[in-house]
Symmetry: C2
Subunit: 178 residues, 2 copies
């Protein structure tokens, strides 16, 4: 795997730009993957993430039962897999196998890292009080992996109905912001 | 103003890609603007948004008191203003004036639209149960404005410490996703 360990204090910089993610879950021998765009950082360190996983998705059941997942960040090379992932349910098929994605064991959670993705964030569910009303889970990132050889990764950003903005150039301005 | 009314059912496509936003607030004659990246969609329609506004920000007080705001979406032409906005507090200065941004009256909330931004979403606070713990507000978008003449707007996406990814090309794939 090309990804290496990455400091938790810098995780916010991976999710703040709003990439489409591929979330893996596992529970009692079943593994699944779903495409997600509805996530935001909640806290810098330890990094907390709020994300919406619809209760119509098979992943909802796996996430709620296992209380763990991995948020993987794909780049434009995986655009077709991202769309196919969003178009099929894992309830009856092995989606990871069907998509040709490679599962790599994670360090601290049961769900797998996806080898083909640029970054992978191992997460534990830490707050479920907003699940009943909004399907909103609060996650803590407990371990992060990034392929740091890839500068300015061309992440995907969903504009709706299969239209994706592909990350363009990065500009840098003097800022006191974190 | 170049922006026109925009259907609430399509608002998710504006925020899903993860743009930096400029949030305006107003209460008892004080108006402010802050840069924000920590937001996510919660529901398609009516569009609900979850966003983090730190209680260290002057905007936190205005938002909590007025229970209204406007989420404005700037593009790369406003990059300097976005950084300056993040680097200064509105507690003692009129930030809108200092930044040279033009306030336009909104239709349904007291906070102003920013004329220079590509899109503006008038919002009302509908749930504050996560404010004490996470500074997380749940907003309902009650009116949306977009300059539809601008295709593939070059929104800004924060990577941390003043580095911004600028929105690149948009690709389209056959998808059954919303």
């Amino acid at each position: 795997m090309a990804k290496r360990s990455f400091p938790l204090s810098k995780v916010y910089g991976l999710l703040e730009p709003g990439p489409v993610t591929l979330v893996t879950t596992a529970f009692r021998g079943r593994t699944n993957v779903m495409a997600m765009s509805w996530q935001t950082m909640l806290e810098f360190e330890p990094p907390l993430v709020a994300c919406v996983v619809s209760n119509r998705n098979f992943s909802f059941e796996l996430l709620r039962s296992s209380r763990e997942c991995v948020i993987n960040i794909p780049t434009v090379e995986l655009a077709k897999e991202v769309v196919r992932c969003g178009n099929t349910s894992g309830r009856k098929v092995d989606k990871l196998g069907a998509l040709g994605l490679t599962a790599v064991p994670a360090a601290q959670v049961g769900a797998p890292l996806l080898e083909e993705c640029w970054a992978s964030l191992e997460c534990k569910v830490v707050d479920t009080r907003m699940v009943a009303k909004y399907c909103l889970f609060v996650l803590e990132v407990v371990k992060a992996w990034v392929d740091r050889s890839r500068k300015d990764p061309r992440t995907l950003h969903h504009r709706g109905r299969g239209r994706f903005m592909v990350a363009g150039e990065t500009i840098s301005l003097p800022s006191r912001a974190k």
